[in-house]
């Protein structure tokens, strides 16, 4: 395994055979990531194509492209007519889920933990990945980006670690609550189908494997120092304890040795598969239900 000089913050060391090793990891990642995005977009496009088979009031014979344009134009215009209303609906009905809150506190907590957890984790992960990878790289050519070091080893890092851990923990609790409701409480209204099981197992696996990797990273600082996997590019932190879940698990991993490459695939491949799975499962409701809420709330207000 090649070594990279951590202190200069460079992802790719200038030294000889170490560089291709790290490059391979990126190549492998992009070789998996790009098809994932293509499959995701393809899945979404199939659904979009089905939706656009519907009629559009006032333009019954319009082509799918024309309908899409009209839909986007109408949405855009509608937004600028009352942006405050849209933000309120986004907050109250889409994110806060007011109706569910009134119906069942248990379901509301479960759903909110999952929604907030995923949205926040996604945002924090993006910030962390973008700053400690691209910005850090750019900072060598453009000193204006040197603030990115704060995200990797500086002041911002413990906050990123903590929030990532915290929001992942929320997802895990939400997932456990959903599993308890679906498989133990079993309310009569609920019918558990194959995709419900797959979705919950996916979430559970992604979260558990994420904590597992973080624990292993903390327990074995040499892994991140050598940067052999991409699940967490950042080097060992002086404040590892802020990653409370991973830190706790790390106490058990001190004497455990696992192939770091395997660990990486263990988390990344299911993550990408999950992404591909979204358009083909109930997870599609992330998009469709949100659009439905906006469309129908505006009609209800008019009514």
């Amino acid at each position: 395994m090649g070594e990279v000089n951590l202190l200069d913050g460079k992802l790719f060391s200038a030294g000889g055979d170490k560089r291709p090793k790290t490059m391979d990891k990126h190549l492998i990642f992009y070789l998996m990531f790009i098809p994932t995005v293509i499959f995701f977009i393809g899945g979404m496009a199939l659904h979009l194509s089905v939706w656009l088979e519907g009629t559009f009031p006032g333009a019954e014979n319009a082509t799918k492209v024309k309908k899409l344009k009209m839909l986007l134009r109408r949405g855009w215009k509608g937004f600028w007519l009352k942006p405050g209303w849209y933000f309120r609906v986004l907050w109250v009905d889409v994110i806060f889920h007011r109706k569910l809150f009134r119906q069942s506190f248990y379901r509301w907590v479960t759903h909110t933990l999952l929604v907030v957890g995923f949205v926040a984790t996604f945002i924090v992960d993006m910030i962390k990945g973008f700053s400690t990878f691209y910005l850090l790289e750019l900072s060598h050519s453009f000193p204006i980006f040197s603030f990115a070091h704060e995200f990797e080893t500086g002041l911002v890092r413990p906050f990123l670690d903590f929030f990532l851990e915290f929001f992942s923990f929320l997802i895990l609790i939400g997932c456990v609550l959903a599993i308890v409701r679906r498989f133990f409480l079993k309310p009569g209204q609920l019918q558990t189908e194959e995709e419900d099981i797959i979705t919950l197992l996916f979430i559970l696996f992604l979260e558990v494997s994420g904590f597992f990797i973080e624990g292993y990273r903390i327990a074995h600082p040499e892994v991140s120092q050598a940067r052999v996997y991409m699940a967490n590019l950042t080097p060992a932190s002086a404040n590892n304890w802020v990653s409370f879940g991973g830190y706790f698990l790390s106490l058990f991993f001190k004497n455990v040795k696992i192939n770091a490459d395997f660990l990486w695939y263990f988390h990344v491949i299911p993550s990408l598969l999950w992404f591909v799975y979204i358009p083909h499962s109930k997870l599609l409701h992330i998009f469709t239900s949100s659009v439905t809420v906006f469309l129908n709330r505006s009609e209800e207000v008019e009514h």
Binding site: G43, L46, H47, S49, V50, W51, L52, E53, G54, T55, F56, P57, K67, L71, D93, H97, K99, L100, Q103, R107, P187, G188, Q189, L190, Q191, E193, H280, K282, L284, H285, T288, S289, V291, T292, V293, L295, N296, R297, E299, E300, H303
Partner: protein
């Protein structure tokens, strides 16, 4: 038959997205009165959406493969027709859906598609004939629309001959053709007379409002009825159209504008409970006290569909000495009586089952009288509470306040 090319499912883009916005959480199943009565999940919005989604996708092999859907062949659609029509269009599913899916409107669209595939339930033919020829849901002619007035004092017939009137009372098909509901229109007439309102009736010129057609997904057939009714009421110079039937009211108030009829109505549409609450507040109709426990059944088309919850309750509270109790489910979560959405015409046993459930809720209140503000609710609940030997008396609000406005 399974080899035949399937009729495409025609929905709006919004409805297509709605079908995939359903998370199958089951809230609509719990709230569905047809499911409560039949325990058959296939009648619930959730399952109807599922089949509709399959129908929507199953015409394209590529999409069917990638989007993992079940096959929907014409045989399956036949069964689907029965499932889609087992619904009262009560709209409770709309009310409880966490993602605001308009299931009731979707159900009507699905019925429309079923009709286009020529798979309407067998009973539909006779009803459509009645509406096409007789302009009402019951008979092939409309001349008997005023039969209910025959047993009233002679003086009341003058209201049927007025060419002009401030208020037109739109009795509706149920109160005009079902003897059990005659006393609602009679009571309304007597109350208007007592309050000295300048009102008139359309008589045989009153045609069905068109709601049963909309409910069956035959909106194109409803245009003729809508235009005729508007034209006749405009011709009377009416400023107010008084509807006794919540479905007629909902149709006039919310559906007519949506369909942009040829002729613009020149009058305001009002339900009898809204109208009489004003007259009672103005003390134009004095009421005797009533010592009884009463409860109120919210008609779906008046409550959930039109948002009228308070006027009927205000009327009840205005009756001296009355003891009013709410039912376990009320207002926007009130259980349907079972009589809506053309259900009784197609699946009378399901209506009976739903009415039985509502009768049970009524009994649990300990009320002597259950009041409603709908001719169909009164009819369905009266028949079924009697069959179930429940002691409660079913009355329409108009009947009660008319009785209480008479000298003792």
């Amino acid at each position: 038959m399974s080899g035949e090319r399937m009729q495409p499912l025609e929905l709006t883009v919004k409805q297509m997205i709605e079908l995939e916005g359903c998370t199958r959480c089951g809230e609509c199943t719990v709230s569905c009165p047809a499911f409560a009565a039949t325990q058959d999940r296939r009648v619930t919005p959730l399952e109807a959406f599922s089949t509709a989604k399959d129908w929507m996708i199953s015409r394209s092999r590529l999409k069917k493969f990638f989007l993992r859907t079940r096959s929907v062949d014409p045989e399956r659609l036949k069964a689907f027709s029965n499932e889609v029509f087992q619904c009262t269009l009560c709209g409770h599913c709309n009310e409880v859906c966490p993602v605001h899916i308009h299931s009731k409107e979707m159900r009507i669209s699905l019925r429309k598609n079923i009709g286009k595939a020529d798979l309407d339930p067998p009973a539909a033919k006779a009803i459509l004939e009645n509406l096409e020829i007789g302009k009402n849901v019951v008979y092939l002619q409309n001349e008997h629309r005023l039969d209910w007035i025959q047993e009233m004092p002679e003086t009341f017939s003058r209201y049927t001959q007025k060419g002009k009137a401030e208020v037109v009372y739109f009795a509706g098909c149920v109160a005009s053709y079902f003897p059990i509901a005659f006393s609602i229109s009679r009571s309304t007439l007597q109350l208007l007379d007592k309050a000295k309102v300048d009102f008139g009736l359309l008589g045989p010129q009153e045609w069905c409002c068109g709601w049963p057609l909309i409910g069956m997904g035959k909106e194109e057939m409803a245009y003729e009825l809508m235009n005729h009714n508007i034209e006749k009421i405009n011709a009377m110079g009416a400023k107010t159209l008084l509807c006794g039937c919540p479905s007629c009211y909902h149709m006039w108030k919310h559906q007519y504008p949506r369909f942009s009829p040829k002729i613009t109505p020149q009058f305001e549409v009002i339900h009898s409970t809204e109208y009489f609450v004003k007259l009672l507040k103005d003390e134009k109709i004095p009421l005797r006290p009533l010592e009884a426990i009463v409860t109120y059944h919210d008609p779906c088309d008046l409550g959930r569909a039109s948002g009228i919850y308070e006027p009927p309750r205000e009327i009840i509270q205005m009756i001296p000495k009355i003891h009013f109790v709410e039912m376990g489910t009320n207002r926007n979560h009130a259980t349907c009586c079972g009589g809506g959405g053309d259900l009784e015409m197609f699946f009378p046993n399901v209506t009976k089952g739903i009415a039985g459930l509502r009768a049970q809720e009524i009994e649990e209140t300990g009320a002597d009288i259950v009041l409603s503000a709908c001719q169909q609710c009164k009819r369905v609940l009266s028949v079924n509470t009697k069959k179930l030997k429940k002691k409660v008396k079913v009355q329409d609000l108009m009947e009660l306040i008319n009785t209480l406005s008479e000298p003792n």
